[in-house]
Point group: C2
Chain length 304, copies 2
């Protein structure tokens, strides 16, 4: 009955709105503004962390954790850590010496609202904040094995062998002619590693043993690539107001992307194929994986 389906908001819209609210209130609680000269630093951290973004990584983490009967508050705390890493990377990416962006999530970037030095420091402080949260004795239900595994997963996904390595490759892409395998590797590091870590950390909280995470890893890998192809398409065809940031940057920078290498038709088909493949990894799961399935479809259908 399509009329009923249209009247009631779908499962994913509800979950996206709920995670956005939960992450905002968690950051609000975890980042009190100090009454001393550190005030602008924490204000800049809050400005970047609260009230923006799709919260895809937190939702991936919380949905995976809840599939394995993890208490929502326990998962939300860890979700704030991975989102803090994502937010710090956006602050540094937007700097004049990197992508030099003026708008992010529909408002001025941190270095435009504050200044460059505060933006560098706010990114660094959010980076440390992620590990403060994860290493807090309260995190992961008090189990130090769980804490140590969460920290290792996030550190590996964000460093030179993960996100930061992918960003370096992305910088090199402007002066090189990357082929499809190299662009795939770049994107697996730049965005795939952290999206994969979100699912992995949800599974760690759920005490799924590493051998039991194969289908979740396959899911995350395919969703990550589909996400990036959709990002390329949005950059070329999307609406700047809906996106809340500058677009048409890949072509201007002369970078090879999935889109430039495949063309729009094959890129779109590839993204859709990856989403179906991602969902097929969850064949052994029941209705408890419906949010992950809906999320996989969302990454290629979104307009921002």
């Amino acid at each position: 009955m399509p009329s009923e389906a249209q009247a009631a908001p779908d499962i994913l819209s509800v979950e996206l709105a709920r995670i956005a609210q939960d992450i905002d209130s968690s950051f609000d609680l975890l980042l009190p503004v100090p009454d001393d000269p550190r005030r602008p630093l924490v204000e800049a951290m809050r400005y970047a962390a609260i009230g923006g973004g799709k919260r895809l990584r937190p939702l991936l983490l919380v949905a995976t954790a809840e599939m394995h009967a993890v208490d929502r508050d326990t998962a939300l705390r860890v979700a704030c850590a991975i989102e803090a890493i994502h937010v710090y990377s956006l602050i540094h990416d937007d700097l004049p010496c990197m992508d030099d962006d003026d708008m992010r999530h529909g408002k001025p970037t941190v270095h435009r609202k504050f200044d460059e030095a505060t933006a560098v420091l706010a990114g660094d402080a959010l980076h440390a904040f992620a590990f403060e949260i994860l290493s807090d004795p309260m995190t992961g239900g008090g189990d130090p094995f769980v804490r140590a595994e969460l920290i290792y997963t996030l550190a590996m996904a964000s460093g030179a062998n993960g996100m930061a390595g992918g960003q370096m490759m992305d910088m090199m892409a402007e002066s090189s002619r990357f082929d499809l395998p190299t662009v795939t590797r770049l994107q697996q590091l730049k965005t795939g590693a952290l999206l994969g870590a979100a699912v992995e950390m949800g599974a760690i909280l759920g005490r799924v043993v590493p051998e039991g995470r194969t289908h979740l890893r396959g899911f995350a890998r395919d969703v990550g690539l589909a996400f990036q192809i959709a990002d390329d398409l949005l950059d070329a065809e999307g609406d700047e107001v809906a996106a809340g940031k500058a677009l048409r940057k890949d072509e201007a920078a002369g970078k090879e992307t999935f889109l430039s290498l495949l063309g729009p038709q094959r890129a779109r088909a590839q993204a859709e194929m990856l989403v179906e493949q991602a969902i097929s990894h969850l064949a052994s799961c029941g209705a408890e994986a419906d949010i992950l399935r809906a999320l996989a479809r969302y990454v290629v259908e979104r307009d921002r």
Copy 2:
């Protein structure tokens, strides 16, 4: 017999040379250059991390750990993590939007040798690298409680409530007239927190219970402040070639420092008093604390 003492190198010179070599070879092993477009990132990390600096934090950590019968290789691994945090903070501090420095450890700063974007990323990647090392299952002799406590200590010491918070206060110092208690607080965060973490992490590795760390914390606090006063004096009176970096920056920036607030004579007397007070915290320790005692004297006598 002063003639004999002069002929044989003193205990601290030997230890400083040894830790410098050990840290260099550890970073060399831990940071292999990848044969892909991430190469400039890892080259920049190695450029900053290898072959420079006094390695005070590693020596504080290793000396404290060895006082408590910790195997040197176990301590060195953890020392690389804290030094990686220190090195990342120097890379970001030197950026044009921060202190805009051209020289560090007698060679061009990372953004001068490479470029600004690579410097931002190399700092971020070294930051993540510190937590990769600490959360590795091999770290801390395989005990996850030890790993989690090490990570918590380092994250707290480097974030908004530690080093990054102190750097923000330092930026605010240019446009404010800080009094002595505020400058003391600033320096306790900016440099004291990480120096304190070095001693604390050595004690954690040595399985000293928190209540047993009081004298070590007192030692670290006093050494940290003495270190900073000595830094102020070096900035005003030191030799740029020996220091390997630009000096006379505090006065030019119009910042209140220990030196501007106390004057050179009282500042020097205060630093010497703090060193004696630091050493007095170790009264219950025997010869096993001699390196820490020598290190406390060194921080006010050094020329770089």
